[in-house]
């Protein structure tokens, strides 16, 4: 019978290794949080390297903890570099799990060694699948719910706890709640029949639009505009086709366009000449630098967007110094001081 003593050094080594592994997690302190999906998750006490798995999440993180982002989802537009925070300028493009366009590569994410992943609690993807995919690389995942602008106020408060910036986060949440309350109060008593009729024109031909009950057009509804395309949202991406005839029939007083080449097209084409808003020249392009004020992607920029819209729709009910408010908002959320020239460029 062989003696077991010969194995002792091996055992010792194994024990040492085990002890090492057992000790490893103790270096990184963890704590438990309840995320916006109601899940209890153990996350690092002070997460330093965070990946936002979809643009609305990454853009929210960008506002509160830009230096902790390990990457962005889609490339930044080159012409708006001056409006980006310098911490985020050189971040690698890592894609997203939002189901279209650039997809993230799990190995690449793992190689970037994030200590926390924040995913979007969207209605188009299964929570369990998202959790499962990131479980493969052993990084904890928490969810942000960002369906409505009110959700953003809660999301900032939650993120503030996660990254340990409660006071900054409280300031942002308060801004969003205050903007919502002021806009709602100023416009609450406008009877439905007197609300400004708005057509929301997307795509270069101006004939793609979204329903009034779609999350894409939430800011128009909050600002008490009557989006003339009344329906339930039928797809996540949106952009329904509509005919010019319907727009003529609905008599919109104002057109909001997401495409900067559309106003020239509308003014020169016989198709559009009988549309109420084109006749009166009220076609307004939505500001989008560095992030869109209304949609695509939806974000907290809507807190500024609804004030701008309410002022555009009802200047006497909701007077607003748009320039001052824009400067204040960009300072608080985007960390940039914009000049008058920047403001003019943003509003073009």
């Amino acid at each position: 019978m062989p003696s077991t003593s010969g194995l002792a050094p091996v055992r010792l080594l194994l024990c040492a290794l085990l002890a090492l592994f057992a000790c490893a997690p103790a270096h990184a302190q963890t704590r438990e949080v309840t995320d916006m999906a109601g899940r209890k998750v153990a996350i690092p006490a002070d997460p330093k390297r965070i990946f936002g798995a979809a643009p609305p999440v990454a853009v929210t993180l960008y506002a509160i903890a830009p230096e902790r982002l390990i990457g962005i989802n889609v490339p930044m537009r080159g012409d708006e570099k001056s409006l980006y925070r310098k911490e985020a300028l050189d971040l690698p493009v890592l894609g997203s799990n939002a189901g279209m366009g650039r997809q993230l590569n799990l190995e690449e994410i793992a190689a970037m060694r994030p200590d926390l992943i924040i995913a979007w609690l969207g209605f188009y993807q299964e929570k369990a699948k998202v959790v499962e995919s990131f479980a493969k690389i052993g990084v904890p995942v928490i969810f942000l719910k960002l369906d409505t602008l009110d959700d953003y106020a809660d999301a900032f408060a939650f993120l503030g706890q996660v990254v340990g910036r409660e006071s900054k986060a409280a300031e942002m949440s308060a801004y969003i709640r205050d903007a919502l309350a002021r806009v709602r109060e100023a416009t609450a008593d406008i009877p439905p029949a007197e609300r400004l009729r708005v057509y929301y024109a997307e795509s270069a031909d101006g004939l793609a639009t979204d329903c009034d009950k779609s999350f894409h057009t939430e800011p128009i509804v909050i600002a008490a505009g009557d989006n003339i395309y009344h329906c339930e949202q039928s797809s996540h991406v949106g952009m329904d086709k509509i005919s010019v005839e319907q727009i003529v029939a609905q008599k919109p007083s104002l057109i909001l366009t997401q495409d900067k080449s559309f106003p020239a097209l509308a003014k020169s084409s016989a198709l559009w000449r009988n549309v109420e808003a084109v006749k009166s020249g009220r076609i307004v392009t939505v500001p989008h630098a560095p992030f869109n004020w209304l949609d695509r992607p939806p974000s907290y920029m809507r807190a500024l967007g609804i004030q701008w819209l309410a002022n555009l729709f009802y200047p006497s009910r909701f007077p607003l110094d748009v320039k001052a408010e824009t400067k204040k908002f960009y300072r608080l959320f985007l960390g940039v001081d914009i000049s008058d020239a920047d403001f003019t460029r943003i509003m073009e």
Partner: protein, 332 residues
């Protein structure tokens, strides 16, 4: 004899298409407008202007565009089927659709301006066919088989380039715009654009219709055609050039509209037989009728427009199955 009936059917569909739309107009409004336009009835100027805007400026360009595009796709489909002596060939055989799709997506990515998107789609459609023909000629003389293979290669190349553009596009605004464009729509065509595209499309379709006799000679074989005095290469490449031009133009006007170029020639063949000199004009007319009718469905059934490419596919598939069941004897 039935060929002579088609222009009347076309006229009837045009009148019907002009009188229906999402803006509520009664038939009486249409007659009132016609009367006023001819100076027979008096209408308040504002009412007349609205009717003029709806009927002439909004509906008419759309109906004309549908007619032209339907004729272009069907005539080019029929002539490609004749050139390649293969009934399963559609206008996309040499890669024109892949090229135009890539061109449009590139236009959306780089500029987003409507005219730029259209020009880029048109140009890339031509480039794709050029690439297909060059590939076919790389290895000595091009036969019909190498041309088809060249077209497949070029089509695949541009389709993958399109995927690459989609990958690079911003998923929140550019990508939906590309998908939106790809589904095809006639809603944005106005008289000004139509003026630019109508003449080349009409000329191309006319040239194809006139080439029917030469194609009939070709269908007997190259040597027989030569002995009849038909310039084989000139005919073949001339037809390919004209068919490419018109299909590329149609894609740049209205995006991707599938099945028309494949199905309509078969229906026409069933109706009037395989003789190209009659088949080509019949395909053009039937294609115009079919697409105008499909567009009526697309813009009237629901509040949001159904993409016309979807309508043509839905209507085209049962038509194709019927044709398959009944018409195998009619294939030349």
């Amino acid at each position: 004899m039935r060929l002579a009936l088609l222009p009347f059917l076309l006229l009837a569909v045009v009148v019907l298409a002009l009188s229906v739309g999402r803006y509520p107009l009664a038939p009486a409004d249409i007659f009132a407008y016609l009367g006023a336009a001819l100076g027979l009835v008096a209408l308040p100027p504002e009412r007349f202007d609205l009717l003029h805007n709806l009927i002439v400026e909004i509906r008419l360009p759309r109906v004309l565009a549908a007619g032209l595009i339907g004729a272009a796709l069907s005539a080019s489909g029929a002539s490609f089927q004749a050139v390649f002596r293969n009934p399963l060939v559609s206008p996309g055989i040499l890669g024109v659709l892949g090229g135009a799709g890539f061109g449009a997506a590139l236009g959306i990515l780089l500029s987003g301006d409507f005219l730029t998107i259209q020009l880029s789609a048109f140009a890339m459609g031509l480039v794709a066919v050029g690439v297909g023909v060059i590939v076919a000629n790389l290895f000595g003389a091009a036969s019909m088989v190498t041309l088809v293979l060249g077209g497949m290669i070029s089509g695949a190349l541009f389709t993958s380039a399109l995927s690459l553009v989609k990958y690079a596009a911003d998923p929140y605004d550019q990508l939906p715009a590309i998908v939106y464009w790809m589904m095809g729509s006639l809603g944005a065509v106005d008289l000004k654009q139509l003026r630019g595209a109508a003449l080349p499309i009409l000329a191309g379709v006319g040239a194809l219709a006139l080439a029917g006799r030469a194609l009939d000679a070709l269908s007997m074989g190259d040597d027989e055609a030569r002995s009849l005095g038909v310039p084989v290469h000139l005919t073949r490449y001339g037809v390919i050039a004209a068919a490419t031009l018109v299909s590329s133009l149609s894609v740049s006007l209205a995006g991707m509209i599938g099945w028309v170029g494949l199905v309509v020639p078969h229906v026409a063949r069933l109706a009037i037989g395989p003789t190209n000199s009659r088949l080509l004009p019949a395909s053009a007319l039937l294609g115009a009728i079919f697409l105008i009718a499909a567009d009526c469905v697309a813009r009237n059934i629901t509040r949001a427009e159904i993409p016309i490419g979807v309508v043509t596919e839905l209507l085209g598939i049962p038509a194709f199955i019927l044709v398959l069941g009944r018409g195998r004897r009619a294939w030349a």
